[in-house]
């Protein structure tokens, strides 16, 4: 399903590849694909609409002279917006000036509050804190027991009693002050945002203990309602941060964008597994490309922008069209590709390519070998490979520390490449003929 989507997007991009400027039509075309991608990723319909409109405005008329392909440029603009909307940098937990810092977990049923409580305690103990885990879920069967077992498994102080949720929390903080715990994590029961009685319980707790953080714990797989749920929680109790759980699966996580767009509070943590060390800080860039399902096309575009000399590229393109492509140009191109980093990791960044190329013998050694061979050619040979006869081949092989067979292979591929010239509309390492050894 998601692969199809990536393919569909690639198709759109292909259509608008090679055209000069980002005009409104191109952008609209690309946006159609992006819109579907966002909806498939569970980004809220209205958030998508607003977002697309914003990005469209920004993209139309963008200067394209420096881009590799207009389609990729659109994605890049889009992605930048996505990243900035998701949040630019990691936001640390807000600490209370007067210890203990109190963190309250809230959210729908089964979103991962209890597990995240354990994870946070562990994370912050590793950072020198003295956390206390507090079980204030008096509703779900064995909920307290669950946190108690988790606490025990990591040797973490644990507190609960038989009072109501508010009083458990209140007593817990007294307990923490006595024992000098400086971080109190309150695990509350899962609840629907429309359950007034249970929402009142949260309000009650919050009033009593004045937490410095109220973390809304959301399942990364949440659908379109994420917006309503989060905003109601926010209106009723006030959310200071979001934690996104179960990101270890294949959920595209559009809920992250929806919630962020509506709540405008930072996403602070992500859960990536059941185990208590499966917690990470939030990376907006990763999340953005995950939502887009596009591989890391942005990194690719950025790398290309930094390293490929577009003036040279244009000249080369002309030469290619006139069939003047020589080994000198080829070497030039190789050097540019090399500047962009290890080939394998580069190819991985291309959506739809990465996976398929895994396991193929693409190595930088082959690249070095080719470079050595070309370096051993005379200028004449580089410009006119047809003069490379048997004795020249031997000489080149000796000079480059390769075999005559290597030379033969390269010459053959080079000839093939010249043939491909017509298809070669632009400079791109994607343009290498099939079976080329790099």
């Amino acid at each position: 399903m998601f692969e199809q989507l990536t393919e569909r997007l690639e198709l759109v991009f292909k259509k608008i590849t090679g055209r000069g400027l980002l005009n409104e039509k191109d952008v609209k075309e690309a946006m159609k694909g992006i819109r579907i991608a966002l909806l498939e990723a569970d980004v809220n319909y209205r958030v998508v609409r607003q977002f697309i409109a914003d990005v469209e405005k920004r993209a139309v008329g963008q200067d394209l002279t420096k881009s590799v392909s207009p389609g990729q440029q659109v994605v890049k603009i889009f992605n930048d917006e996505l990243v900035s909307l998701l949040g630019d940098k990691h936001c640390p937990l807000v600490e209370s000036p007067q210890p203990p810092t109190v963190v309250m977990m809230v959210g729908l049923h089964g979103s991962g509050k209890t597990t995240l409580s354990g994870k946070l305690a562990k994370l912050f103990r590793n950072r020198g804190k003295h956390p206390l885990l507090v079980a204030a879920d008096i509703h779900r069967p064995a909920a307290k027991k669950q946190l108690e077992i988790l606490a025990k498994s990591i040797d973490m102080p644990f507190y609960t009693n038989d009072l109501n949720a508010r009083d458990i929390c209140h007593e817990a903080i007294k307990h923490a002050k006595e024992k000098l715990y400086d971080l109190v994590i309150l695990d509350t029961a899962g609840r629907l945002q429309i359950d007034d009685e249970l929402m009142a319980e949260l309000i009650d707790i919050k009033r009593k203990v004045k937490p410095s953080e109220v973390l809304f714990v959301a399942d990364a797989m949440t659908g379109q309602e994420a917006v309503n749920v989060a905003s109601t929680f926010n209106e009723k109790i006030g959310i200071t941060g979001v934690a996104l759980t179960k990101l270890d699966g294949d959920a595209r996580g559009g809920a992250a964008l929806s919630i962020k767009a509506v709540l405008k509070v930072p996403i602070k943590f992500v859960g990536v597994g059941e185990k208590l060390d499966a917690i990470e800080e939030f990376h907006p860039e990763r999340m953005a490309s995950r939502i887009l399902g596009m591989g890391d096309i942005v990194t690719l575009v950025e790398k290309a922008q930094k390293t490929v000399d577009f003036e040279k590229a244009k000249k080369l393109e002309k030469k290619l069209r006139k069939q003047e492509f020589t080994f000198e140009d080829f070497l030039d191109q190789l050097k540019q590709v090399k500047k962009m980093g290890p080939l394998e990791s580069l190819l991985e960044l291309i959506p739809g390519v990465g996976g398929k190329l895994k396991g193929l013998p693409i190595d930088d050694k082959a690249l070095l070998r080719i470079e050595a061979i070309i370096n051993s050619m005379t200028k004449q040979e580089r410009r006119n490979p047809s003069i490379i006869n048997g004795s020249r081949r031997k000489r080149i092989a000796r000079g480059s520390g390769t075999s005559v067979q290597d030379i033969n292979v390269l010459l053959k591929q080079f000839a093939q490449m010249q043939k491909m010239v017509k298809k070669f509309s632009k400079l791109s390492f994607k343009g290498f003929p099939q079976g080329f050894p790099i």
């Binding site: 569970d42 089964g110 064995a142 077992i149 797989m221 659908g223 179960k246």
Partner: protein
Amino acid sequence: MMNRFVEGLAKTRNGIFGRIGGLFNKKIDEEFLEILEENLILADVGPGPTASIINVLKENRDDNPFEVLKEEIYKRVNVVSPKDVSREPKPSVIMFVGVNGSGKTTSIGKLAARFINEGKDVILAAADTFRAAATEQLGLWAEKVGAQFIKSVTGADPAAVAFDAIKAGVAKGADYVLIDTAGRLQTRVNLMEELKKIKRVANKAMAGAPHEVWLVLDASIGQNSFSQVELFNRTVGLTGLILAKLDGTSKGGAVVAISDKYELPVKYVGLGENTRDIEVFEPRKFAEAFVKK
């Protein structure tokens, strides 16, 4: 019963037509279709299935949109599972699978109450030996509803628990053995293999078991539900779905295309955390509640 199903939905949910409001009496025109698209997608039906439903409405512009839509939803969720009534197994072994926190354990507890209420003998098998206090959670349900309970220790082989429970069920002539398994994301290959093993071992305890494998879907989950059904189905072969947490504001629309595509019937819907908060899924009622004004 039927009323409770609708009431359960009505309690908190507005059908998608509830949001369309005044447009409802209009003919099917572009504006209408656009708003309909918005509302189907907001109900988690998904962009692809939404487009196909919209197409049907486009082709039937002269008809009452409400009726056309209701019929389209109904057609998709009305999956009749072939069931061999002549050979009701005893016990009937049902294995519950699903991603983390979807509502497996709670659904089992509520179903057990329901079956016991019908005078059946029910055994609950705590084959989630992984998650903290999972066994205790199911144990409390067993106690509450008066089911027999088979468990082991944390970290034990879940297949062995299933085996023991089925054997006990056969020996005691129980009517149902409900097997709770640990939540797992469908992409975790090893954990999915573990499910296969439970299934295999269940079959050793009693030929033909498990007779049903039900995937518990959380109604608030969006398009990932497709991946869940696809991969769980591929691994253990599903025979039905349970749509839990339908008492929230999510409409569980993903299930519309899922039922259709995989020909998997929704068996029950979860409507809360209490013993009685589970109802038999009724395609007609669901379609009505779904598009309700």
